[in-house]
Amino acid sequence: MAGLPRGVTGPMSASGGCAPVSLVEIRTLSGNTYFLSEQRGIWNSIINGTTENEYQDWLVGQQQFHETGTTATDTASLSIQNLSGNTVERDMALAYAKNEFVGAFVYYRLWRADAETAIFTFTGNVTDADIDENVMDLSVEGFGNYSAVKVPSYDIDVSCPLFFGSEACGSTSPTPCNQSYGDCSSIERFAGIVVQWNFSNSSAPLVQIAQPAPAVSYNPARAF
């Protein structure tokens, strides 16, 4: 909470005054953005970058946030009313039918309307949408969700992670390699990456460098 100016924190310590409101932006995969709050109002949007967006007063109950402070995933749950609408269709049910909510991007702000400052923010993705005739509950997982990172469990590098001559390597060469693509004698099983990016200028890399070609070549038509 450090860094908020006194013009914002001052009224928090006073007795009286109004409570902050929640501002929730939900960007679905199909590109629709929903603006939700406990009070109808015109506020800016972080996701769309627009200044005047009407936030509907559809949030109900207590919005919950669990911040772990570790690599364990932060979670949140949001409740949205599903009663308004016309005589046939309810607003949220209609939105749910038209959009894929699972995976939607959520940007939450606890908004002090008088100071026009967010005193708490939460960003994440919807992992579950549970809707019934009264309410839609969204389960949200925060960014920094390490369990959702899908990568192989070995180093991704220009160097091959395999042990020379192992079953995974498969090389029968008498000469050990230096783990590079250039002197690999079992290139059909080379487990490093064969191109890399030039980070030498300490900025976003634009130059791709190929590793030197190996001395042996791989003929996929030949049994080995």
Binding site: G7, V8, S13, S15, G17
Partner: protein
């Protein structure tokens, strides 16, 4: 049509109904509790406005004809999801907009006489009104710069400071003053903003040559444009078809505002007005309708 549907359009006998549509004595008018209040064991009370509910009336119609019961039932069904107007004839003719939240259950007490007891009418927020509350002497309260424990009640951005009777405080209808927020040399866009739950508001702004130009926003929408605090005037403002009359003597008033959580924002322009020698802005106080 919502606010133009009046349950009791006349104060006395109404031939159309064959009865007086006003309710009988013995009714209750309950003020809403919008605040969350908490008190530490050895501390003082802390409070925060968390809701925007209005008045709740528990009404009785005693020994009335069947037509009155039918009218109550119609209003109950018609405005389940909407609102209508009810006029408190004995309470200064104050208008209330809302709906019945309990059923008009009638008891037949004699031949052709019916009694409806404890019919609950609840005011609703964000509803237009035919006549907005305007008894400033009796139905309003002040939100000052600081609370009674000297904590700020106003959020600010920029170099604002709370001063006890500011040096450059010129004339105001409320002079002499208590603490007021002052920004003697603002950057354009510096603001002081207050939130409250209620209806309209009015402000008596300071008028002084050391003060400059400012704008006033209500609920994020431009309300008064180019208010010159050196002479307390502003031309008529028209935003989205809503007309704010010209301002004189630094007196700003917004009456046509429904019950809700409102916010009023003074934004410094960092520019001099007609008779300014500096560009300061002062947030003195706000008087809000409850």
């Amino acid at each position: 049509m919502a606010e133009t549907d009046i349950l009791n359009p006349v104060a006395g006998w109404w031939d159309v109904l064959g009865d007086n549509p006003n309710w009988s004595y013995g009714w209750t008018r309950r003020t809403s509790q919008n605040k969350q209040i908490s008190r530490p064991r050895l501390g003082r009370r802390y409070s925060r406005e968390v809701l925007n509910a209005g008045y709740t009336l528990a009404l009785n119609w005693v020994d009335r004809p069947w037509a009155t019961v039918q009218r109550l039932k119609t209003f109950y069904e018609q405005f389940q999801g909407g609102y209508f107007t009810l006029i408190d004839r004995d309470g200064g003719n104050r208008h209330h907009v809302g709906n019945f939240t309990s059923e008009p259950n009638a008891i037949e007490t004699a031949n052709g006489k019916y009694t409806v007891q404890g019919l609950v009418f609840e005011e609703v927020p964000q509803a237009r009104m035919l006549e907005y509350p305007n008894d400033w002497d009796n139905d309003s309260h002040f939100i000052f710069a600081l609370d009674d424990y000297l904590n700020p009640l106003v959020a600010t951005q920029g170099a604002w400071a709370a001063q006890l009777t500011p040096l450059m405080a010129g004339s105001s209808l409320n002079a002499p003053s208590s603490y007021e927020w002052i920004n003697p040399a603002p950057v354009a866009g510096d603001f002081a903003q207050v939130e409250y739950v209620g209806w309209g508001f009015q402000m008596n702004l300071r008028v002084d040559p050391l003060l400059g130009l400012c704008d006033i926003y209500v609920d994020g929408v431009l309300f008064v444009q180019g208010l010159d605090l050196s002479n307390g005037t502003a031309p008529q403002t028209v935003v989205n078809g809503v007309i704010t009359p010209p301002v004189a003597n630094g007196f700003v008033q917004g009456i046509a505002m429904p019950l809700d959580k409102h916010r009023v924002k003074i934004v410094a322009r960092a520019a001099k007005g007609f008779a300014s020698t500096a560009t300061g802005v002062i947030y003195p106080q706000i008087q809000v309708m409850h």
